[in-house]
Every structure is written in structure tokens, then in C-alpha cells.
Amino acid sequence: MQSDTQKEELATRSTETTQRFVTLKDKLSSEEYNFEHFRTKHLLSDAQATIEKRGIQPGEVAPDFELPRVSGGTLRLSELRGKPVLLHFGSFT
């Protein structure tokens, strides 16, 4: 069972996470995101993201999403509450 403080903390963190969706101001345009050529700037951006640890920070609620599965249907992250989840972001290339 979660205490009230824990619940409050969780609610605050969820709001922070929602804010992330709303204020993702450095979101790239579709053309920038889906670049046609890999250039040095992409490598530098990866290096910078690594140094800045630009991911969802430990302790934060993992932002929820619902995405289509290759095998059909969709999967929502929050459906997996109660189980540990390994979430990998991978490219075909």
C-alpha cells in the first residue's frame, strides 16, 4: 500500500511528465528528425545527449504511450504497471 505522501509525490511527478509532453520545445520537425544523411552534427548531438544524460531521470514516472505493435493491435505502457519493463529504442539501421 502507498502512503499519502507517496501518492502526492507520484501525482507531482506525473504532472512533470505530462509537462514534458506539452513543453517539448526542442522537438525536431519531421524532416529534421528523419534526416536523409548522417552527418557529424548527428554524432555531436548523440555525444552531447550522452554527456548531459538527456533521458527520463531515475525516479521519474516513465511517460505513458500507446503504440502499434508489429504483430497487430497496440500496447500501452501503463498496462504493464506491476511488472518490471525493459524499454529499448532501436533503429533498423
Binding site: 550522452t50 533521458g55 531515475p58 505493435r69 506491476g82 529499448h88 533503429s91
Partner: protein, 202 residues
């Protein structure tokens, strides 16, 4: 689970995505060719979910049973994840593990495994990466050729046992000491040192 993101190293047969259908087709090939047994999801064309999660190149997040990030690996490395999972299990699948973030790229495992994705975009993917960072594309190509030799060390799912690490360290130290001794036993003029080195290279 896997979320399929943009084309990291586009090429003639694998161009940058212009439609979701194209991304879905590649995701199906990714699952089939790499023999992935867990759910493979496809992000939208703009990469919204990927960007919300930081837009990182090859990350894996470990999420605890309350839905919070317990740990993330900026450059996915199986043995590190194995340790993180084990630590989380011991904590009852809750809370932070292994300091929360592991950001070190494991170059040797990338060198042995990285060719798989890169070869799909050959030759464009190779030329563009090699031009940006010499060795980053030819290294994985070489690593792929030496795969039978390197894989048992670099592509492990679990960390090497401490005894094996110790053995490798002792071996490396012994080689180093032998090398230094060998150099010292020669006359210490720069030209003879040069000759020794040349002889070694032959």
C-alpha cells in the same frame, strides 16, 4: 519491448522514412531478421515517443513495478542491464538501481555487433559514418569479420565472471611486463629501438 525509431544510418535500400507504412515494414523486418521474441512497437513518423524519452541513440530503460525509471543505459549493453535487473529483483522490483544511469559506450561490443544495422544502408551508411568519425564504420565491419573470435568476450548477455576478468587482466599485465623487459634489454639508442619495433611489426 522494442520501440522502432528513425533510420539512424540511411542508405539506398533503407532511406529516411517518409511514411508510417514504410517504418512499419522495416519494423517487421527488424523483428524477423533479428529474431526478436518480445513486443516490437512502432513510434509515429515524427518520433514523438522517442523524443519525449530524450531522443537518445540506443538507450534501454528499466522501469520498475510502479512505472518509474529505475535505471537507464544510454548505449545498450546487455551485461550492464543484467546487473541492473538483478539489483532491482533484490529490491523487490522497486526503486533506483546502479546509480540510475550508465552512460559509457561499450565500444568493443558495438564493434562486434554494430555492423548488423549499418550493413543495411551500405554503402551510404558506411561512407557517412566513417567520414564523421573515422573508425566508427570500418571498426564494426572488422569486428563483424572477427565475430567468432570476439563474440564470446564482447557479446555476452551476462557480465564476465570475476575470475575470467582477473585472468584477462593478469594476461594483459604479463604481456606488458614482457614487452617492457624486451625493450629494456636492447641498447637504448633510438635507432635500435626503432628496429626492434619494426621487427615486432613484421
Amino acid at each position: 519491448m522494442d520501440v522502432v525509431i528513425r533510420q539512424a544510418h540511411p542508405g539506398a535500400d533503407v532511406p529516411a522514412y517518409h511514411s508510417f507504412e514504410q517504418k512499419m515494414r522495416d519494423a517487421a523486418a527488424y523483428r524477423r531478421e533479428d529474431g526478436i521474441g518480445w513486443p516490437v512497437l512502432v513510434d509515429d513518423l515524427e518520433g514523438t515517443t522517442h523524443q519525449v524519452y530524450g531522443g537518445l541513440a540506443d538507450p534501454t530503460y528499466l522501469i520498475d513495478i510502479d512505472g518509474r525509471v529505475a535505471f537507464y543505459n544510454l548505449w545498450t549493453h546487455a551485461p550492464t542491464l543484467h546487473e541492473a535487473l538483478e539489483e532491482l529483483r533484490q529490491q523487490g522490483w522497486r526503486g533506483e538501481v546502479k546509480g540510475g544511469v550508465h552512460q559509457t559506450p561499450h565500444l568493443l561490443s558495438s564493434m562486434t555487433d554494430g555492423w548488423k544495422g549499418l550493413r543495411r544502408g551500405w554503402p551510404q551508411s558506411f561512407i557517412e559514418l566513417e567520414t564523421s568519425a573515422p573508425g566508427m564504420a570500418s571498426g564494426p565491419w572488422l569486428g563483424y569479420q572477427l565475430r567468432p573470435l570476439l563474440a564470446p568476450l564482447t557479446l555476452r548477455a551476462k557480465p564476465l565472471p570475476p575470475s575470467a576478468k582477473l585472468g584477462l587482466a593478469v594476461g594483459a599485465a604479463a604481456l606488458l611486463i614482457l614487452g617492457v623487459r624486451n625493450l629494456r634489454s636492447r641498447p637504448a639508442t633510438s635507432s635500435s629501438r626503432g628496429r626492434t619495433r619494426n621487427k615486432r611489426l613484421q
